[in-house]
């Protein structure tokens, strides 16, 4: 098995690492790649920050129904037969 992996493989490894899906050997490959590749190292650091932010998306959702839209839904409900 090869020690050196490509940047594309490194990104794949980074994604799998997030889910704890790397074998020991893959961890070594990734560690080795990140030690020599500044671009993937940067990707890896940014990826950690971004995934943390991605997970908080719901806390920042700020959409509202207009009053007419709400009224329409209420009207639909009260005229719905069950």
């Amino acid at each position: 098995m090869k020690l050196h992996i490509s940047c594309k493989e490194a990104v794949d490894h980074i994604n799998k690492k997030e889910e704890g899906k790397l074998s020991i050997w893959q961890k070594i490959q990734l560690w080795n790649h990140l030690a020599i590749c500044v671009l993937c190292k940067r990707f890896s650091i940014q990826n950690k920050m971004l995934t943390k932010l991605f997970k908080q998306t719901d806390d920042f959702a700020t959409h509202q129904f207009t009053n007419e839209e709400k009224k329409k839904i209420i009207d639909t409900l009260v005229t719905t037969e069950d």
Binding site: F43, L50, F54, F60
Partner: protein, 190 residues
């Protein structure tokens, strides 16, 4: 059954829960109209099946579960289209990497010129994220939502959307690289 008591309950539900449900839906589907339709359908399904509400979960949790199922149904449709057009690696090439699978020169990851600690910048970040997610293919965004917003693992996502693990990893890879690039471009210091 349009009697007064029910009318009161309907307006209480809609006034109390519609904004939260809409926020939930808009984080998960690209189109605002679709999100609104899904919330309306959620209220209608809940209304028709009100005897099935057992009072164990809160009304909010119950409504959210119904909405979640409707969103996953919507994703499944995108996944079905995927299997028609998607071969995983071939035709639609990855512009982010060159022939040697090294970062393509135009796509070298650059430093972000801003950090996410202040709340103003955070707000800006989520506006940018929403804009960047609109550029993803529907199925990429579906996988993204299930993974990061709903915290599902890859096995569950593959099962829900009926896609193979290798499709899944390609989808996540593309979504990630594309989003990172888009965020880098838009998220500039002010």
């Amino acid at each position: 059954m349009p009697d007064k008591k029910y009318a009161h309950l309907a307006s209480e539900w809609v006034n109390t829960y519609s904004s939260q449900l809409l926020g939930f839906a808009i984080s998960r589907v690209k189109d605002e109209h679709l999100a609104k339709d899904l919330v309306q359908e959620t209220f209608i399904s809940a209304w028709k099946n009100i005897e099935q509400y057992n009072g164990e979960a809160s009304i909010k949790t119950w409504l959210t579960t119904i909405l979640k199922n409707k969103i996953i149904d919507h994703y499944r449709k995108a996944a079905t289209r995927l299997t028609d057009s998607f071969d995983g690696h071939g035709a639609d090439r990855d512009i982010f990497f060159d022939d040697a699978d090294h970062w393509a020169k135009a796509q070298y990851p650059q430093e972000f010129s801003i950090n996410s600690n202040s709340s103003v910048e955070k707000k800006e970040f989520y506006a940018i994220l929403a804009a960047c997610r609109k550029k993803l293919k529907a199925i990429q965004d579906a996988v993204f939502s299930l993974k990061y917003l709903d915290g599902m693992d890859s096995e569950t996502i593959c099962k829900e959307l009926n896609i193979s693990p290798s499709n899944y990893w390609v989808l996540i890879h593309r979504a990630k690289v594309q989003l990172r690039g888009c965020i880098e471009t838009k998220w500039i210091n002010q």
